[in-house]
């Protein structure tokens, strides 16, 4: 994985890796001061939300110098007590509380500075010396270290004054820089990095004159996890690389860490293979032509960790077959509210499904380990997201649709049933059904368009209920379930309760094993609301007789789709067509 990623990273014809990393390198909040000759200084105070000017030479200088002078991680400091966080003789980084106390330089700061500079002079063990010698580094000359130290010591009070003047109260960084050539910074950062770039130098081995060590990128040995070590092989640790590769990997991860769009950090993206576009990491809707890409997903903590990576040999956000999201309720609901239409981009389809089927809960929970149950997200829906998110992601993010194709029926129905527990408004059920019917049609081309069949049956039912003078009877199972849905919705509308809870109504329906149970269920509500219903309401009588006259076949599965459609569609009992409207107005 890492070798493939590095291949794309280092072979860019237009940029060297340092430029790419520096391009989106962010300065941490803090006070940055550069000391020039003749006691002149340049300051930059970066607050949490400061927007730094992009082409300002001073900002650029600070970015570079900061990049070359920062620690790889807190566990690899120069200062053994970890109070000073810089890595070379040109810089002095520490937190404000270490630097400053009660309007003055902190009394203990001098001790830290002494320790830091003596650590720079005596880098320690044999392994370090060996690595530096291999890279042709001469030991640091004592006089230049003392000279830097003297320069820093001379300005401490000035900086404390500045902190006082600017009234910096939070524990942000105080970063002091001596003005030196960029080359000097780069060279000195090598002195720090080379011996520290590996996970641990005790694992280093010499192969053909080259030092190979355990990679420190997304890799670690942990005394508490003894089997990270390979107990039975000759090599013991999983992955040894050269210092050059280790440095490149560090830069690659820093670069990845800085990736964002519109001021927000990215958590996933696509790296096109061997294309070297100026934007090496693309987001889905930027991959508009089919091409081989590496899909990456990463976690951001103090460091970055890649937690999903796949090579996709032929990926494009544009789908080879567009998907039609049809409004199967166009004869009744307000047409504008469901955004039906043809979508041919995976990213657009994802947004549509996320909104209409999952009530905005899918995408934000793709990677959440334990989905939190909230007011808007029931336990049942959380369970359904857990069950379906991998299939959804494989299709919508990686273009691999087989899991969805085989699971579309179960997944969409499962989510709809879960949604019913916390349905905000009835049209939401209609929207979710629209998504379900459209997806079923898309993935099961050979089958009949379920949504259309039900819609046609609903129109027939309406015709029948409105226009039958004698008692209407039921023709088929679709009609029965639609009629039951309609009746339940009608009873529901008669309820006097202030807040209605769908789950009370639906618990019985979803637990029903056969059409008989469904009949018992709606009769229960009929009894409860019978006092409200006029015996001379022909529409209700027709609807009731359709539902009652149906004799289910043995072991017939419950058609929840038709039942939900009947519930979500306009109530035929209250139906007013355009003609009626006209008559009303004329009267």
């Amino acid at each position: 994985m890492l070798k493939d990623l590095l291949n794309e990273f280092v072979n860019h014809p237009d940029f060297d890796v340092d430029t790419m990393v520096l391009d989106n390198y962010q300065l941490e909040p803090g006070l940055y001061i550069r000391f020039n000759n003749y006691n002149k200084m340049d300051e930059l105070y970066v607050k949490k939300n400061t927007d730094l000017p992009e082409n300002d030479p001073l900002v650029k200088w600070f970015k570079k110098a900061d990049f070359y002078s920062s620690l790889i991680e807190m566990n690899k400091p120069v200062d053994p007590k970890k109070k000073i966080h810089s890595n070379n003789l040109f810089t002095l980084f520490c937190k404000r509380d270490i630097f400053y106390q009660e309007g003055k330089v902190h009394p203990e700061l001098q001790e830290h500075i002494d320790r830091y500079f003596s650590a720079l002079l005596n880098p320690g063990n044999r392994e370090t010396a060996k690595i530096l010698a291999a890279a042709h580094y001469e030991p640091l000359p004592e006089e230049s270290v003392y000279c830097s130290k003297a320069r820093f010591n001379a300005v401490l009070d000035t900086v404390a004054e500045y902190i006082k003047k600017e009234d910096i109260r939070n524990n942000c960084y105080i970063k002091l820089f001596l003005n030196a050539e960029e080359e000097a910074y780069v060279y000195e950062s090598g002195r720090y990095l080379l011996p520290k770039i590996f996970n641990k130098n005790t694992y280093n081995i010499n192969v053909g004159g080259r030092i190979l060590g355990l990679s420190n990128t997304d890799m670690g040995m942990n005394a508490k996890k003894p089997f990270l070590e390979h107990k039975t092989t000759a090599f013991k640790v999983p992955y040894r690389i050269s210092t050059e590769e280790a440095l490149l990997l560090r830069k690659f991860y820093l670069w990845l860490f800085g990736q964002g769009r519109g001021g927000r950090p990215l958590y996933n993206g696509y790296i096109p293979v061997w294309e070297h576009a100026p934007q090496l990491l693309l987001v889905a809707n930027e991959v508009d032509v089919r091409k081989p890409v590496i899909y990456l997903h990463f976690e951001r903590g103090v460091d970055l960790t890649i937690d999903d990576c796949e090579f996709l040999p032929s990926f494009s956000d544009k789908m080879s077959k567009a998907i039609v999201f049809t409004n199967y309720f166009d004869n009744c609901l307000d047409k504008s509210s469901y955004k039906s239409g043809v979508l041919d981009k995976l990213s657009a389809v994802e947004a549509h499904i996320n909104e209409n089927l999952y009530a905005f809960q899918l995408v934000s929970n793709y990677d959440v380990k334990n989905i939190k149950v909230t007011e808007k997200l029931s336990q049942a829906l959380a369970n359904q997201i857990m069950l379906s998110r991998e299939a959804m992601r494989a299709w919508l993010r990686k273009g691999y649709f087989l899991p969805m194709q085989s699971g579309v029926d179960k997944i969409t129905m499962g989510v709809i049933l879960a949604r019913l527990q916390k349905l905000e408004f009835i049209p939401a059920l209609a929207y979710a059904l629209n998504v379900r019917f459209s997806l079923m049609k898309y993935f099961r081309e050979e089958e009949k368009d379920m949504g259309l069949t039900i819609q046609t049956a609903y129109l027939n039912l309406r015709e029948k209920v409105l226009n039958t003078k004698d008692t209407a009877s039921c023709e088929n199972d679709l009609e029965f379930y639609l009629a039951v849905g309609q009746l339940l919705r009608y009873f529901f509308s008669l309820s006097q309760a202030q807040t209605l809870h769908y789950d009370v109504l639906w618990r019985g329906i979803t637990a029903a094993r056969d059409a008989g149970d469904i009949k018992t269920e709606y009769r229960k509500y009929f009894q409860r609301y019978a006092h409200e219903i006029n015996i001379n309401n022909p529409r209700f009588n027709n609807m009731l007789s359709i539902a009652s006259s149906y004799l289910p076949k043995k072991e017939e599965p419950i058609n929840l789709d038709a039942l939900f459609y009947g519930f979500a569609a306009d109530k035929i009992i209250y139906y007013k067509d355009k003609e009626d409207d006209k008559n009303d107005k004329e009267q």
Partner: protein, 246 residues
């Protein structure tokens, strides 16, 4: 040239990539040469990575399976659309107790697994000792093995089926229907049609002597054509498809 052909498959597989271990262990998409040699070594009973030290055998340059079988040439064809096997990251606990010294003794593992991998594998004797080659062919054709061959983890037994000897002839067409090793510029691969695909994976090709860690090469699987002067060596055809041996 005589070649031993078989189908290698299983419901799941995991050929761990060694480069990261912080959060997820990733798998290679295809069985690479070293893993394949290990699997064949299991079939004829050669020993694996176990420390030679541990068994008082002195320091060895390579594990036995690699030492014996590395002269063999192999060719691998992934039997799936675009050469891409679907993968899923599995999350499980190792609660044997000694795997983690943290409180509770529970080790959490995230591992990416291949789903229903299926490859057609060709073996060619090349410089392999004749007696070993005969033994290997004999064991494979008769469906025998000494140790149980598995796909990367011993939870995933390998299914070896349709084993037969086939005759291949030297060939030099520009399209290769198997995986092949290629370090050149990918832009020289010529496709041009919309169903073009290109699968690239840097995966192990051999072991380093003494230390035994992997050396890597770039495996390619594509329907594009190669420039003639970039064609890899050892190309053979069965009359229908052309295979690259490495």
């Amino acid at each position: 040239m005589k070649s031993l052909r078989f189908t290698l498959s299983g419901p799941l597989a995991c050929f761990r990539q060694p480069d990261v271990n912080a959060k997820v262990y990733f798998t290679y998409n295809n069985i690479h040469k070293v893993a394949l040699l290990g699997l064949l070594g299991a079939v004829i009973g050669l020993s694996g990575y176990r420390n030679a030290d541990l068994y008082g055998q002195g320091e060895k340059l390579y594990p036995e399976f690699y030492e014996v079988l590395s002269p063999l040439l192999v060719s691998v064809v992934p039997n799936v659309k675009n050469g891409y096997f679907s993968k899923k990251i599995q999350y499980f606990n190792n609660s044997v107790g000694y795997a983690s010294k943290e409180e509770g003794g529970n080790l959490q593992v995230r591992e990416q697994w291949l789903e229903n991998p299926n490859w057609t594998v060709f073996l060619a004797q090349h410089k392999l000792d004749a007696s070993i080659w005969d033994k290997l062919c004999d064991y494979m054709l008769r469906g025998q093995c000494v140790y149980i061959p598995y796909l990367g983890r011993n939870d995933f037994p390998a299914q070896i089926s349709d084993v037969c000897l086939v005759e291949l002839s030297v060939s030099k067409s520009l399209r290769i229907d198997s995986l092949f090793l290629y370090s050149g510029d990918l832009n020289t691969l010529d496709g041009g049609d919309p169903s073009q695909y290109l699968f690239v994976e840097t995966a192990p090709t051999s072991l380093v002597p003494k230390h035994n860690f992997y050396e890597f090469g770039r495996y390619i699987f594509t329907n594009c054509t190669l420039p003639e002067d970039e064609l890899p060596p050892y190309l053979y055809s069965d009359g229908v498809r052309q295979y690259s041996f490495y």
